[in-house]
């Protein structure tokens, strides 16, 4: 009880801090320094229509690299943690998925994968991009896992995909260091004309890599987690 009271008091002070922020906050009327720059230069410089993707993939590519690394890391560690898990043998057979789910999944999964692919490759033009698409791909995996809990994905494949895509990402970045303006500069390839699929230099490629990597990592996490599952 005292604990809760103390927590409340502390959070109250923290809340006061937030309140001060809230009161002091006035929404910007104009774009800030960097925001304005992106709005002005993205299209001409990088030839990307989707500013967000441009920022993610190029301007703040290092963040993105770090962030796929986060996923990679989590996946690896989840694997580590669960490596010591119980042998699968001791599991009770789960309830078989219903007819509806089984069929539905067979119908949906291809569509999901297609949508994912679309979202990924159009990342630089329309809302979407590597992450979003990757997440969609992974949802496909999830659906499969739900449909047949005992299905085993080959971790080998997943890890290969994520490793390769990750390594390529880094490699491309380094290429940028050599052939273009710097690490992760997407102007290795011609910028092309705004709005076309094959434009914005490397951006679509990197999106694809990110998509694959994210998808693979989510999948491997889901897979490892599901392997631990014993209902």
């Amino acid at each position: 009880m005292i604990r809760r009271a103390l927590v409340l008091v502390l959070l109250a002070v923290l809340g006061a801090l937030f309140a001060a922020l809230w009161l002091g906050f006035t929404p910007a009327e104009e774009l800030g320094l960097t925001g304005r720059y992106y709005a002005e230069h993205t299209a001409p410089d990088l030839g990307a229509a989707n500013l967000v993707t441009a920022i993610i993939v190029t301007y703040r590519g290092l963040d993105t690299l770090g962030e796929v690394t986060v996923l990679f890391l989590s996946a690896a560690i989840v694997g580590l943690v669960l490596a010591g898990g119980r042998p699968a043998a001791r599991r009770k057979p789960p309830v078989p998925a219903g007819e509806l789910l089984a069929t539905g999944s067979r119908l949906l999964v291809p569509l999901i994968l297609l949508l994912g692919a679309y979202v990924i490759v159009n990342g630089h033009l329309t809302p979407g991009g590597g992450f979003q698409g990757g997440a969609i791909l992974a949802s496909g995996t999830l659906l499969l896992l739900l449909a047949e809990p005992l299905k085993r994905f080959s971790h080998g494949l997943i890890t290969r995909i994520e490793s390769l895509s990750g390594a390529t990402f880094v490699a491309l970045g380094l290429l940028g260091l050599v052939f273009a303006g710097g690490f992760l500069d997407n102007r290795l390839l011609p910028v092309g004309t705004l709005g076309e699929l094959f434009s914005a230099g490397l951006m679509p490629v990197i999106s694809v890599l990110i998509g694959l990597k994210v998808g693979a990592e989510f999948s491997s996490m889901l897979a490892s987690l599901s392997e631990t599952e014993d209902s």
Partner: protein, 1053 residues
């Protein structure tokens, strides 16, 4: 040049690439994976090192690395400057060697684990390099996750919960950090650190200008500081330290700590000086509290954890003081940081070799001298002893703090360091003294390499810092090198090493004797030549006598450097060296563990007072010539004098600071006791000499400080003599008598007149001779009889005649009875006090005088006279090598008694430079003062002649006397048959105890033990704060945030 350098981005890219590629490897190809990991880490280290070299040598200047081909603030940029290079080198190399040490678990867990390690090191490097706030956040998250992963490598099941606790608190950190970042962006319109500074374009006036910005900045700062494990928000870290794999703890302590510190430093750089207070406050509180809480720790890794927390706090203090440190900032900060990193990494790697987790289990290292050396070096590194970087750094830090009147902070820093030294050296004592486990430590190469690298790094950095410091590089000073040489020669048999040592000391004296003034010459004679004579006794020791000579020579090196020292730095460095050496020396004694510790603590405490004194006196300079002490002006001079005097008197064991001495001197080995008593004590007197000669009389609040010293000296003499009279242990008796003698010397110095100083010097010489002699003879007797309790001995005169003669001469000399040299001291003493107008303290001294007879008579009677015990009937004379120096001392005493002028008249003349009036005149054989006269030679002759006449007469009338049996005595109505019951020895002065026993209450001891108990209890209660519950730790963090918010920002954003 820059173009030739590999891009810093490679440090990050290579790690990532390797980490990803590891995934392609087959699970089973562990060896390859490990090789790749090591290669990558090595490459990262190489790149960083290249940059460090280029930047340090000025071949290259700080570079900004753009990404995305877009300039900041629109894209992320990295910066590689000197600090960045140094830190990334530190981080990557730590990672590399940790990877080597982690071989076993890495192989067990496979490539995934290695990828995690790579990414961890990469993330830390990123934290150091990046100039973008959000990027910083990303790298921090990476580091957090990777850490959580590395924790799993532990074989300790409990690590799991530790990791989870870490994840919990880390969530709080990142939430606050993110909110802070986004609002900082909202205020400044950029995420670039440099963009946060007041904008030239006038877009904004710096992030902290507005209220929102200030709060945002506070949130970021607090979140980053939290990564430094500040008190109280550090329970999670301690749990990790305790449970994680030690090789990883090394990274966690050394690398992660360094990276986080630099992040805070970067942030504070944009926050402005207004925020430094928070850093300082948090830092010093953490430093003090963590050290106190460490006191009751018994688990080595957790202890190291507390120490890490403390050290990080200390660096945070330095960061908080950057406003006054100026150019010295990097030198100081890195000096402490690097020392901490190397030492902690090394210690954690060492702990990987130790089977048990108790502090005593480190006794296992005893079988491995090399590892023991490493252990000692690391501890010295942590406590900031010379010649290591932290020593130079602390020296500068203290001086700068003093020159800017941040005295409270200065005091806290020194106090905290003292506490840390306390538990660290207690630990070392355990390792040296406690029973070693049967199975010696197994050290496979991959465990050994990192440790030895750390050891090499420690000494290398010591040299580097010595070269960088404005001071003399200690590792270039001949005496120290000579002493260190004995570390390498330790495999030689003791006799050869002894010969080398003696030759070296005499040689060094021959080399330097011209450059001393008469006073220093006397001290140099005692330290070097006297030391050599005492070393003769060491020939008796058989075998290799491992560890003895490095310690002894270290002490003598310190003494030699002390006499030569002309400026405060050299003096202080020498002081620390001789302290350390003598500590190791004393620690060798059988039951000396607690005494060695208390010696070390009192000495270090005193040393810190001296340091503070010098710092105050330096007034902004980083050192001052000792002569310049005189130039210090009121009211500062009073404080300087007080600090220095107390510091020096802690070595001369003045009353109140004396409790370490009896144990330390009594428990030491036979030939060590004379070194630490006859020789080492003089170091303090030399200090006092220099002090009073340069500063003269000083006042504080109208109190004449030298007058206080008079009282202290007199009371010390009284207490020392009284306590000596009631010892049953012969060596303790001598030790207490040393306290008394030093009291006389201090008194003489404090008289502040010509003869007073002369008397002090007389005591310096006399005490060296007779106390060394007595300790040797008593030690010899103890060796033969197997006990130090006098009442167990008796009647040894016929069996050990030479030792008896030595003791006889010794006690006649001490008691000051003519014709021996002690009388000279007394005579000068009387003349000196006639010159002085402070009369009350003398009364105390008059009282102390005759008491000397009590313990002296007891010493000789209960050991050599009275009834011989049955078990001693076959005792032989002490070993030749122990007797030889005694005989030398006997001759010296007699020579010095007949012609004291040899030594004294030069010093007499020298003193006249400071105090002209009151000098003695040395016509012919008579020494004349303005009050009296004294002719040693005629006294000797007259007494001799009378004695011979009477003796001849007795022979004439009673020549056929023959020795009768032991019990053939006129005894009242019975025939004694048991020596035990007939030898009147135990509690010899019972009536005296009845009369004055009340003066002997151990008040001082009680005071100090109460103090230490209080600290320990405080630590024991305080650490209950860490309940082990992750939520509680999270609450601690919030409490920390709130407190800092309320105190730091006055709750008024």
């Amino acid at each position: 040049m820059v173009s030739a350098m590999p891009s810093p981005i490679l440090i990050i890219a290579s790690a990532l690439g390797a980490a990803f590629l590891l995934g392609l490897l087959d699970e089973r190809r562990t060896r390859t994976a490990w090789a790749i990991t090591l290669a990558t880490l090595g490459f990262m280290g190489l790149v960083s090192a290249l940059w460090l070299l280029a930047l340090a040598t000025g071949q290259s200047s700080t570079v900004d690395v753009f990404t995305a081909g877009t300039p900041p603030p629109f894209a992320i940029n990295l910066r590689m400057g000197l600090a960045e290079a140094a830190l990334s080198t530190l981080v990557t190399l730590t990672g590399l060697f940790a990877a080597i040490a982690l071989k076993a678990p890495l192989w067990a867990h496979g490539r995934r684990a290695m990828a995690v390690l790579l990414i961890l090191v990469m993330a830390l490097a990123g934290i150091i390099l990046t100039r973008d706030l959000f990027n910083l956040f990303v790298f921090f998250e990476l580091a957090v996750i990777a850490t959580a992963g590395m924790i799993l490598l532990a074989d300790d099941e409990r690590a799991l919960s530790a990791g989870f606790k870490y994840l919990i608190v880390a969530q709080f950190f990142s939430a606050l950090l993110l909110i802070g970042i986004i609002f900082a962006y909202q205020v400044t319109g950029t995420l670039n650190l440099d963009g946060m500074l007041p904008d030239a374009g006038g877009a904004h006036a710096g992030v902290t200008a507005t209220q929102v910005g200030a709060i945002a900045f506070f949130l970021m700062l607090i979140a980053l500081i939290a990564e430094l494990k500040p008190f109280p928000a550090n329970g999670w870290a301690l749990d990790i330290y305790e449970s994680a794999h030690p090789a990883f703890s090394a990274i966690f302590s050394a690398a992660s700590g360094a990276a986080a510190l630099f992040a805070v430093d970067k942030l504070l750089a944009i926050g402005g000086d207004a925020w430094l207070g928070i850093a300082t406050g948090v830092g010093i509180v953490t430093f003090l509290v963590a050290n106190v809480l460490a006191l009751p720790q018994r688990n080595d890794r957790r202890l190291l954890g507390y120490s890490s927390v403390a050290q990080t706090g200390l660096v945070l203090v330095v960061i908080g003081q950057r406003d006054i440190l100026g150019d010295g900032y990097l030198f100081i900060a890195f000096g402490i940081l690097v020392a901490h990193a190397v030492a902690k990494a090394g210690l954690y790697w060492l702990s990987g070799l130790i089977a048990g987790r108790g502090l005593e289990d480190w006794a296992a290292l005893r079988t491995r001298p090399l590892l023991m050396l490493a252990f000692a070096s690391f501890l010295a590194l942590l406590t900031g002893l010379p010649p290591f970087p932290s020593f130079y750094a602390k020296w500068d830090l203290v001086h700068l703090l003093a020159s800017h009147d941040r005295l409270a902070l200065l005091g806290f820093v020194l106090f905290g360091t003292l506490i840390e030294a306390g538990y660290l050296f207690r630990w070392f004592g355990h390792a040296i003294k406690r029973a070693a486990p049967a199975d010696s430590v197994a050290c496979p190469a991959e465990r050994l390499i990192p440790i030895l690298t750390a050891l090499v790094a420690a000494w290398g950095l010591g040299y580097l810092w010595g070269a960088l410091s404005g001071q003399a590089n200690l590792l270039l000073s001949l005496p120290l090198l000579f002493a260190l040489a004995f570390v390498l020669l330790d495999w030689l048999p003791a006799r050869i090493k002894n010969t080398l040592a003696i030759a070296g000391m005499l040689g060094y004296f021959a080399l330097t004797y011209q450059d001393y003034d008469p006073l220093r010459l006397i001290f140099a004679l005692i330290f070097l030549v006297g030391g050599a004579i005492v070393l003769l006794a060491s020939y008796h020791a058989p075998g290799r006598r491992a560890g003895f000579y490095p310690s002894a020579m270290l002490m003598y090196a310190g003494l030699a450097m002390l006499v030569q020292a002309q400026d405060s730095f050299a003096f202080f460095a020498a002081w620390e060296l001789l302290t350390v050496g003598s500590y190791f020396l004393i620690l060798r004694g059988k039951a000396s563990e607690p005494h060695a510790l208390s010696y070390m603590l009192f000495s270090l405490g005193g040393a810190f007072l001296i340091l503070a004194g010098f710092a105050l006196a330096a007034q902004g300079q980083l050192q001052l010539p000792l002569e310049a002490l005189g130039a210090v002006v009121e009211p500062l001079s009073g404080w300087v004098f007080l600090l220095l005097a107390v510091g020096f008197m802690s070595k001369t064991a003045v009353l109140g600071l004396h409790i370490w001495l009896p144990g330390a001197h009594a428990e030491a080995e036979t030939d060590v006791s004379p070194m630490v008593s006859g020789i080492l004590l003089k170091a303090g007197l030399l200090g006092l000499f220099i002090l009073v000669m340069n500063m003269g009389k000083q006042q504080l609040y109208g109190v004449e400080l030298t007058h206080l010293m008079l009282w202290l000296g007199a009371l010390t003499a009284l207490a020392g003599n009284l306590l000596a009279a009631f010892q049953e242990d012969a060596k303790r008796l001598l030790a207490y008598s040393s306290i008394g003698q030093m009291g006389y010397a201090v008194f003489g110095l404090a008289l502040m007149n010509h003869l007073g100083w002369l008397m002090a010097l007389m005591f310096v010489i006399n005490h060296y001779i007779y106390k060394s002699m007595l300790f040797l003879s008593v030690g010899g007797v103890a060796k033969r009889t197997g006990t130090r309790d006098m009442y167990r001995m008796g009647g040894l005169i016929t069996l050990m005649p030479l030792s008896f003669i030595a003791v006889l001469i010794g006690i006649i000399a001490i008691s000051g009875v003519p014709p021996l040299s002690g009388f000279g001291g007394r005579w000068i003493f009387y003349n000196a006090i006639l010159d002085s107008d402070a009369r009350l303290p003398m009364i105390v001294l008059f009282f102390a005088g005759p008491i000397a007879f009590l313990y002296l008579f007891r010493l000789i009677h209960t050991i050599f006279l009275g009834q011989l015990k049955d078990e001693h009937r076959r005792v032989r004379e002490a070993p030749f090598w122990i007797v030889l120096p005694q005989m030398l001392f006997v001759t010296m005493l007699i020579i010095f008694a007949v012609v004291p002028g040899m030594a004294l008249r030069h010093v007499d003349a020298y003193i006249s430079q400071f105090i002209p009036n009151g000098a003695l005149s040395w016509q012919g054989l008579t020494i004349t003062s303005q009050y009296g006269y004294w002719s040693p030679v005629s006294i000797m002759i007259i007494i001799g002649v009378i004695f011979m006449l009477v003796f001849g007469y007795l022979l004439l009338i009673n020549r056929r006397a023959q020795k009768v049996k032991q019990f053939n005595i006129a005894f009242a109505a019975e025939r004694p048959y048991r020596p035990e019951t007939t030898h009147f020895a135990w509690n010899f002065f019972a009536p005296y105890r009845k009369a004055l026993g009340f003066l002997m209450l151990p008040l001082v001891t009680r005071f100090w033990s109460t103090l230490t108990d209080l600290l320990n209890t405080a630590g024991d209660l305080g650490r209950r704060l860490y309940t082990g519950n992750g939520q509680t730790y999270a609450i601690h963090f919030l409490v920390f945030v709130v407190i800092v918010f309320l105190l730091g920002m006055g709750g008024q954003p």
